[in-house]
Symmetry: C2
Subunit: 364 residues, 2 copies
Amino acid sequence: MQIIRVQTPSAKYDVYAGAGLIDSLRPRIERIAGRLPGRVFVVTSPPIWALWGEPFVASFAEPPVALFLAPGEKHKTMACVEKLARQMARAGADRGSLLIAFGGGIVGDVGGFLAAVFMRGIPYIQAPTTFLAQVDSSVGGKTGVNLPEGKNLVGSFHHPLAVFADTTVLGTLPDRELRAGLMESIKAGIIRDRGLVQYMEKRAPKILARDAKTLEKVIAASIRVKAAVVSRDEREGGLRMILNFGHTLGHAIEQATHYEELLHGEAVGWGMIAALRLAQKRGTITRGQAERLEKLIHLYGPLPALKVRAAKAVAAAGGDKKNIGGVRRFVVPLGIGNAGVIEDVTQAELEDAARYMLSQARGS
Amino acid sequence: MQIIRVQTPSAKYDVYAGAGLIDSLRPRIERIAGRLPGRVFVVTSPPIWALWGEPFVASFAEPPVALFLAPGEKHKTMACVEKLARQMARAGADRGSLLIAFGGGIVGDVGGFLAAVFMRGIPYIQAPTTFLAQVDSSVGGKTGVNLPEGKNLVGSFHHPLAVFADTTVLGTLPDRELRAGLMESIKAGIIRDRGLVQYMEKRAPKILARDAKTLEKVIAASIRVKAAVVSRDEREGGLRMILNFGHTLGHAIEQATHYEELLHGEAVGWGMIAALRLAQKRGTITRGQAERLEKLIHLYGPLPALKVRAAKAVAAAGGDKKNIGGVRRFVVPLGIGNAGVIEDVTQAELEDAARYMLSQARGS
């Protein structure tokens, strides 16, 4: 097990990464919180609960009250948060209750937001069950839901008491989700950890075979990058923006494909390929570095083929909510293991990056 | 005009109390925020906008985008927050936008919560238009909405950039609402400002006639009490609890009357009368002090008559959400101008207080 500390102006907590964490949650929570809170609630999805509910409750004398969120982005809504809050109120939850979000990124975002607003905020714990949620969304305190007008338009910053990234539960994760999640680890390596890039280059077979120790290393290294960035910039004033590498264009691809054809990580994979092209043309990385990183991305593919529509969206990108005041800001690697922000990206540059991405995306 | 500073670990802002503030909002906001934010939105109620919309927009070159919340507690919901958030998203609001909550307590609570969660938090300003909202709910950062299971069960702590308590807009406030709001000023005096108690004893005619300078003094003194308490205890760890004087029993009365027969301040008025009886029996105030304070409450009445049901609710009180772990905690005055918390109030004490209250409440 590895422990990674997150320390921001408003919170200080640990992320635990390793095998067999969820079967011993109660003593772990007692150690962190001083004592077990009066009532414990768990927000989870029915499939996860069917697979892992039994080991999850095993360590509790009184099993936590389970609240269910049906799978799928379409349940990441205010209405679902309200429904869950009402269930908690009826079950007697109070300010001293604890919530555990046990599931993928959507469960984490919705459960975290529920904890942020129930009685104006109760403590919660993230127990992410997908690779993507473990290395990305469970760390950093961002919670929220979608509006029909856009994703994550409503939410809160609310840090968990702790994050338990249990590699054991990854055993039942579909292969495609694992590969998509690994794109975020590649991103972490590119922007801040050259060693992680090298490790992922060498250990692809073991990682994809889900060897516990190898996975733990990749997960811990990825979390360490996120924790370091979030600790230095809690609210996206500056540094936190580098976490968006590949995401501005990735979001454009997701929107153009109505969030249906690609997993988030896959869209980020394509977004990184386009962004690497842009970076190479700007000279922030060499051609050799761009090729090397591109090869790494494909090593953890296959990324699904893209249609022209997606490339057009990339060419048109620039209305992303990270762009305050309309300036087109993009995150680019500065060599391998470092990143920065370039401004005023031109339409021609975007079109070139989109064309380049599409030339690969059709054939893949 | 008087300026009261609120300073908590997470925020620092000023409350402005005086006449003619809303006609000069733009320069005031520019001074506070450095510059006028890119987009300004105002959440308000149709009746308030009809009465005061014109002076409100007068100082803006480009009028703020008005979003409407229908009057009444039944609109203090997650669904209304979502509707408003969607309107903002469609109107192009971003993280650099500013929201102004311009209305009574419900507009302030809903508008504040909207600002707390829109894009995970945007800056906002409170411009309360009722006496109650000016002296109480607009200060302290509590925002939120109701669930069918209970009031204010969902919300956030989110402090405004500033509060503008404009005495001019009180000109159109119904008399009953003014009197009910003044109960919170009496509360403020009892728990922390002996001078305010004396002032309100002497100046009742001028206050009730809404003399601008006299009202400003009462409002500023009341806010000063709340600001001092909130500044020392942002999240209700201890001291902030004294603000609940009269409220534990007041809430019981409101619940028993389904929030229909009494205004909040009126229920607090009766709650204070019951709590004063309890305090006198415990010896934290003398009989003479209890009578004097009771007289002051009635001076700003009439409080509507109560039915037996309400007294029964007071006798049964103890499930209030401020009671963590089931201990019956009550705030009582310690003399006049100071307050403390007593624990383990007995059933007999509650019944005595309820009987006493009812003996007055039937005849009033």
